[in-house]
């Protein structure tokens, strides 16, 4: 227990990185996932096809592969750089690309299932008053679709919090990698340290679940 208390600043710092990874890739995934969903319901076959290929490839590839590809493929081979001198900042952003690319595929499918719950008449009424396809989607369909899928989106965010640990694979010093390092330093306190980190994740995810559940109930569209 002593080890946990002694290392508390280090542990909190690691979780702060976890939070940053979650928030940044969560926001990007939400936006990119909604764009993908819009592509998949668009009247243009090219966009529909591109969206379907993207989602099916990313959704069916293990996250570890994607993150390692971002680190080695993008970072090392293709020399994608976000900072010339700060290596940790580089791997931070590379892992965000991977996390967002992966999570957005799931967001797309959740949003698309939400779109399917909106009655066809809503889109017809929107078109009938002269809204364009994009206006119909943005003003009528998506607001209703997203409200119906807040709870599943919350689950995705919850999964994302835990998925950020995969960024450890390319050296991002988030909670999981920091825990492994602390094991090396405090061989006698493995279980307290482990419990400490597990509790940290619960503290992050539990309020998320409560919040998304409450939000889903409050914003529900009554028909």
């Amino acid at each position: 227990m002593e080890a946990v208390v002694d290392e508390l600043p280090v542990i909190l710092g690691a979780f702060w990185l976890t939070v940053k990874l979650t928030v940044v890739s969560g926001v990007i995934s939400l936006i990119w996932g909604i764009v993908l969903a819009a592509m998949r319901v668009s009247p243009l076959p090219v966009l529909r096809g591109a969206g379907a290929v993207y989602v099916n490839v990313l959704r069916n590839t293990p996250l570890t592969l994607i993150i390692v590809f971002c680190g080695l493929g993008l970072g090392t081979v293709m020399s994608v750089q976000f900072s010339r001198d700060d290596l940790s900042l580089n791997s931070f952003w590379l892992s965000i690309i991977g996390l967002s690319a992966y999570t957005s595929a799931f967001v797309c499918e959740v949003v698309r299932s939400g779109i399917n719950t909106v009655p066809l008449g809503q889109a017809e009424a929107a078109r009938a008053i002269g809204l364009t396809f994009l206006q119909t989607l943005r003003l009528v369909i998506l607001p209703q679709a997203v409200r119906t899928v807040i709870a599943p989106l919350g689950s995705l965010l919850n999964a994302l919090v835990k998925n950020t640990t995969v960024a450890a694979a390319i050296g991002v010093m988030e909670a999981a990698l920091r825990m492994k390092n602390l094991f090396d330093a405090h061989g006698d306190a493995i279980i307290p340290i482990f419990l400490g980190f597990a509790a940290g994740f619960v503290v992050l995810t539990l309020p998320l679940n409560l919040l998304s559940g409450r939000l889903a109930r409050r914003l529900a569209v009554v028909r």
Binding site: A125, A128, I129, G130
Partner: protein, 251 residues
Amino acid sequence: MTEISGSDPLVRLEGVNKHFGPLHVLRDIDLSVGRGEVVVVIGPSGSGKSTLCRVINRLETIDTGTIVFDGRELPAEGRALARLRSEVGMVFQSFNLFSHKTILENVTLGPTRVRKVSRQQAEQRGMELLERVGIATQAGKYPAQLSGGQQQRAAIARALAMDPKMILFDEPTSALDPEMVQEVLDVMTGLARDGMTMVVVTHEMGFARRAANRIVFMADGQVVEEGSPSEFFTQPSTERARDFLSKILTH
């Protein structure tokens, strides 16, 4: 009644055909609707009347034939089609009010987003229209909080807010409880009296007699007979129409 110009119809359908898979829903439809005219389309279910209504603002595409609205052929897609639709109001059987928006927001969405009217102006006009259809006190409520009749009147106000050149009514009272039918028909009768061009698909024969300039009788995807309400209801010229009328008017 408003004068109807026969030479320059607002809508003209020529040789329109439409299939749903193997089903031939519209067969060689030729139909004109004059400016200010109220055309009521009746016929047995499955006769293609709703589809006829929906092809006029291209919610359904057609296979062959031409539809001309206000002197121009219907655009196939894109902004031109959106512009056309903004000039043709539509009232649906199931109301289709935007569930996540209040009644007033339903009425102002089109004017602010399509016509780029200022919010304040749109709301002022919206309230006038809600007043006109008798539901101004419900402006801040959501559609699900209103009765069917109130929802349908809100839908009519939403259509009117675009200052359309015509309004299509696709069985506007068919989903209503009987006691709410009249309030909607009253609003529609008022519109007809004010000279709005209307195509109304309905089973309300009382309304057809009272408000229509012309009855179009459809069966099996064809226009079987058309004429003034008095002609049609007293001396229908086809066997098919006589048969239909005998089934609905006897009781």
